[in-house]
Amino acid sequence: MYCYCKKHHILELFIRFILIQNRAGKTRLAKWYMQFDDDEKQKLIEEVHAVVTVRDAKHTNFVEFRNFKIIYRRYAGLYFCICVDVTDNNLAYLEGIHNFVEVLNEYFHNVCELDLVFNFYKVYTVVDEMFLAGEIRETSQTKVLKQLLMLQSLE
């Protein structure tokens, strides 16, 4: 018994990285789920900025990127980008971004870019609650916020 599936691809389905950048290209969060060296990371950050910022509202929220694709959404001056395999589900990640942004918004009480700057170490905690090992870990906003507030109360 065996299975005729698109093995390679399904194994490859995970988030390669999550980036939050502002319009000027300053990185507000970079979360890597694949091994890259520092130079490579810098290059990726610059490339993503270049491909995403030239697009306008009439464009799709998806852009091919090397052999992957970037799913992104712009909130005010910030671009939230997720890099995944080309065969992965675009809309699921697009809403994954929005779900994440709504959690940040609730957690930081009307989040703004400065919150991410001053609390960068907390943003990592939020990410890890919702995405881990390149996969979606938890999608319930209520559950995530409850956990974050519990952690907040700890010393």
Partner: protein, 986 residues
């Protein structure tokens, strides 16, 4: 809900960040950072022991500095110290620092692992999660070694908190990806699968990613997940929009979990259990129905979440490719999206329809949307949407609409974005060739391509048109006439001059009867372009001129004059000068007969893979990673322009074969009658008759072919030595017993053997994986007495598909002389076949699913021996596949199925052999899944066919797979067409 204030808890950090933000210049920032680094360093080195809070603050500052892009070379130890704090905030900063600045310092790794170990056993869920997240983020081999056995226990333990389970599942997934050998599920398997039933949806969401990954590798062990996933999905899909509370997102119940469940199901064939299948079909229907319901919210989040599930469901329907009703419904739904106002949906619909177009059930339904798609190609604002539209047109193209689609693509090319022009050109060229009913249409199309987008017409494209014109005499006159007309244009692209030069040089005589295109007119027309062309084109034109002298003696004087002038005969370019000198000489000393022989019309090109398809495949590359690939492409491009720009005219000179002949797509087409020399190419090896003994220095593979279909026998024998083998294979493992017999009465001394795998050397450069490993269990005794036989065992493991066999090298001294022998060991990919029985229905369904060009290979070849049924059957069985009876409607044909077992994957293969008794020709088709490199794909049918019948001596003559009627007309025919399109779905 309380908002988090700026940098609460760490005032110093907030002040520092503000300072940095207030810096007016880069210099000021660096100065401020250096001041801070000095401060932190002194604190860390100070006599006073720092309290936890200060340590946390400084480590956090260091992290901030690192994230700004500055190097940090200290503070690691302090961060590690924080790990053993019992305060959450301190621990968290410590773990964060470690995760972001992974350090391979072995001393620290030991300390870090120690701290993680403590936290994992702390029973404090918060600490356990921190530790698990750290492992998941770092995912190093060392961590896998330390924790891979511990984490499954945490995952399935009854008293583990839900949030810890979520983290443990994904942590394990990460370790499995980095070190699959260390993660042994074994006894945990069924409990992990049953996490799909967990009450907590978050646990299911996390666990399903792990299960999906594991079931890829061990589909059988995890197959119970199918029914569990179906019932979970069914419960979600049928629940009301508010039932799932926390997991309802904009009125859509658990969208992400639904998508993941649908993904998991795509790892398996349709459920065999009728009830499960019925339930699943019901789910899919419900999802399709919901798409038609009025939205419960106007928010885009609602429709996106709903459609995320819908697209995933459609992927599953396409994956099954067995429910015509669902396929057509999916197609109709996508058709609606094609006109949706959301660009995202139009894009995704085009993309998804592309895969539907390849299904037999929905191909026609897809075709009905042709006008909308053409419209999208013309009007979409986003280039990536237009690109998808072009892809879809390409996918839906067949004989019925080829002319329309090609015409639309050509007209789009005039305004197409530069970024996609080259690919568009390739696609047009392929479609024009594939669906050409009359070849004059094909020629027109390609010449139009050159006219419209000459810069983007790569060499492969114009080589191909020349190959086809040369090979089809019904189109030569038309081609000559058309190209002559095209050259009349005042400004024509250099590629047009190349095609024109070549074709007129060959077939100018076919239009020379018309005074408007008399020989001299033709020559003057070509020569009027000469001075504007680059060196390679000029070289080609010079070859055309010498051909003119042969075709039209009346042009001789004019052309000789041109060749004789200083700008040719003293040209500073060596190539041009040499051609001018040689052609001039040739035309003046050679007799007409000699000239006619040397400059004879080009023989037909052997029909091989279309070089254009190879090019398209390269452009769209397999879904691999990284920059290196991009760089490779660049380099290859460079080579094409640099080293090999001579084009077909070199061959036209009918001189010795030159390396540039490769460009014509006749790569392994050695000159007729020449012995196969390339050791690397199995293709050549197998199809040559077990030819003359190889030169002593080379690898001896005489015996190799005989073992493709059998496992035991004498591999090699000469006057001194006999080598017998006995081998057995199970799944991806094999064992070969080697028997060395000394046939003489004298002792062999210093007897030694080594086995090497080809590719070992390259593997460092190309990739890290070996195709297979071979290891001799122990060295042989150095002395072999006269008449004695010694034995040795070789263990073999197949890692991934391969085409080159391992080499056995034997050295020994016989009477003082060193004997050195290298043999190809008969380890071929088919040894790892596991036969698979299947019904006719399954067979053809799968056959159809494997319709992607890169999954197919086909070969037509002449049988040299009689095509005896029993002999053929025995050979096919020897291959290791199951020979399926009553499957093919034509009883003459043989069909087989099997799975190649490698360590990294299982590759299902189907094969069909169609003997044609009248023509004494066999037509072999094979399809395989997941062969990610084309040459591997190519290796399978040759092995098969070579084993089935050792036939086919040369590569002369041609046939086309589309046109089987001409097979066998030639005395020896052979064809191998391997198509590969580097598409997303292999």
């Amino acid at each position: 809900m309380p908002a988090v204030s700026k940098g609460d808890g760490m005032r110093g950090l907030a002040v520092f960040i503000s300072d940095i933000r207030n810096c007016k210049s880069k210099e000021a920032e660096i100065k401020r950072i250096n001041k801070e680094l000095a401060n932190i360093r002194s604190k860390f080195k100070g006599d006073k022991a720092l309290d936890g809070y200060s340590k946390k603050k400084y480590v956090c500052k260091l992290l901030f500095i690192f994230l700004l892009g500055h190097d940090i070379d200290f503070g690691h130890m302090e961060a590690v110290n924080l790990l053993s704090s019992n305060k959450y905030t301190e621990k968290q900063i410590g773990y964060l620092f470690i995760s972001v600045l992974v350090n391979s310092n072995s001393e620290l790794i030991r300390l870090i692992n120690n701290a993680i170990k403590n936290d994992l056993s702390s029973r404090n869920p918060t600490f356990m999660c921190l530790a698990l997240h750290c492992i998941a983020n770092v995912g190093s081999r060392e961590m896998a070694e330390a924790f891979a056995s511990e984490i499954p226990r945490i995952l399935v333990a009854g008293d583990t908190m839900d949030s810890v389970k979520q983290s443990a599942a994904l942590c394990l997934l990460r370790l499995y990806k980095t070190s699959p050998d260390l993660v042994l599920m074994g006894e945990w398997t069924s409990r992990v699968v049953h996490l799909l039933n967990d009450q907590h949806m978050g646990v299911v969401t996390a666990a399903i990613s792990l299960i999906t990954c594991l079931s890829q590798k061990n589909p059988d062990e995890f197959k119970t997940c199918v029914s569990l996933a179906v019932s979970r999905l069914s419960r979600i899909v049928s629940s009301a929009s508010t039932d799932l509370q926390d997991y309802t997102y904009y009125f859509v119940p658990a969208p992400w979990l639904s998508c993941k469940l649908l993904r998991l199901l795509q790892c398996y064939p349709p459920p065999e259990d009728g009830a499960v299948k019925g339930r699943l079909v019901e789910c899919l229907e419900t999802i399709l129905n919901k798409a038609q319901e009025p939205p419960k919210s106007k928010k885009v989040q609602h429709s996106n979440a709903k459609n995320a599930i819908l697209f995933e469901a459609i992927s599953l329907i396409i994956h099954y490719d067995s429910e015509p009703n669902l396929l057509v419904r999916a197609c109709n739904q996508l058709g609606q999206f094609l006109q949706h106002r959301e660009t995202n949906l139009r894009y995704l619909a085009l993309e998804s329809m592309c895969t539907l177009a390849s299904s037999e059930f929905s191909h026609e339904a897809v075709k009905t949307h042709i006008e909308t798609v053409i419209n999208a190609l013309k009007t979409e604002r986003d280039v990536s949407v237009r690109q998808r539209a072009a892809d879809l047109l390409y996918a839906m193209c067949d004989r019925s609409n080829a002319k329309q689609i090609v015409a639309e693509m050509l007209s789009y090319l005039e305004t197409a974005d530069y970024s996609i022009r080259e690919e568009m050109v390739l696609k047009v060229a392929i479609l024009a060739e594939k669906y050409a009913v009359d070849y004059s249409w094909y020629v027109d199309t390609i010449l139009n391509l050159i006219r419209i987008a000459g810069d983007y017409v790569s060499e492969e494209v114009w080589y191909r048109v020349i190959q086809i014109v040369i090979n089809r005499d019904d189109v030569q006159g038309y081609a000559a006439k058309t190209v002559f007309e095209a050259l009349q244009a005042p400004a024509c692209h250099e590629n047009m001059v190349k095609v024109g030069g070549y074709i007129l040089g060959e077939f100018g005589n076919l239009i020379a009867g018309d005074p408007r295109s008399s020989p001299l007119v033709q020559f003057n027309l070509l020569h009027s372009k000469f001075h504007l062309c680059s060196v390679p084109t000029r070289a080609l034109l010079l070859s055309a001129y010498i051909k003119f002298i042969n075709l039209f003696p009346e042009t001789k004087a004019t052309i000789q004059e041109v060749l004789r002038c200083d700008s040719q005969i003293r040209n500073s370019d060596v190539e041009l000068q040499q051609r001018a000198v040689e052609y001039l000489k040739l035309s003046s000393i050679a007799s007409t007969d000699v000239l006619a022989t040397v400059l004879e019309e080009m023989p037909p090109f052997p029909e091989r893979e279309s070089s254009i398809l190879a090019k398209l495949k390269k452009k769209k590359g397999p879904g691999a990673v990284s920059v290196t690939e991009l760089e490779d492409n660049k380099r290859e491009g460079g080579e094409l322009n640099g080293g090999s720009d001579r084009g077909p005219d070199t061959a036209a000179m009918a001189s010795t074969p030159s390396p540039s002949a490769d460009l014509l797509g006749i790569r392994s087409a050695a000159p007729i009658g020449a012995a196969p020399t390339s050791a690397g190419s199995l293709l050549v090896d197998v199809f040559s008759e077990a030819g003359p003994a190889a030169p002593s220095a080379a690898v001896n593979d005489d015996g190799f072919l005989r073992f493709v279909c059998k496992n035991n026998g004498v591999l090699f024998e000469n006057q001194l030595l006999q080598i017998g083998i006995k081998s057995e294979y199970r799944q991806n493992l094999g064992r070969m017993y080697l028997f060395y017999g000394n046939k003489t009465s004298v002792q062999f001394a210093s007897f030694s053997t080594t086995v090497s795998c080809p590719g070992e050397l390259q593997s460092h450069i190309l990739s890290m994986d070996f195709y297979f490993t071979c290891s001799l269990t122990k060295p042989v005794e150095p002395l072999v007495e006269g008449g004695a036989q010694i034995q040795q065992v070789l263990n073999i493991e197949c890692i991934t598909d391969f085409s080159d066999a391992p080499l056995l090298n034997i050295k020994f001294r016989y009477g003082g002389a060193l004997q050195n022998l290298t043999l190809k060991l008969p380890v071929t990919i088919n040894k790892f076949f596991q036969p698979t029985e299947m019904s006719s229905h399954d067979f053809f369904q799968r056959w159809k699913q494997l319709s992607q060009p890169q999954q197919e290979a086909q070969k037509i070849f002449k049988a040299n021996h009689s095509m005896d049924t029993e002999v053929l059957k025995a050979k096919l069985l020897g291959l290791g596949m199951a020979l399926l009876d009553n499957v093919d409607p034509n009883p003459e044909n043989y069909v087989c199925a099997g799975v190649i077992q490698t360590k990294s994957q299982q590759v299902g293969c189907l094969l069909r052999l169609e003997p044609n008794a009248q023509a004494q020709v066999l037509h072999i088709d094979a399809t395989a899944l997941c062969l990610d490199k084309m040459n591997h794909c190519a290796s399978i049918p040759p092995v098969i066919s070579g084993a089935a019948l050792k036939t086919c001596k040369t590569r002369h003559g041609h046939t086309s797979s589309e046109d089987k009627s001409c097979v066998g007309k030639e005395s020896i025919s052979q064809e191998l067409r391997i198509l590969q399109k580097g598409d997303k779905q292999d």
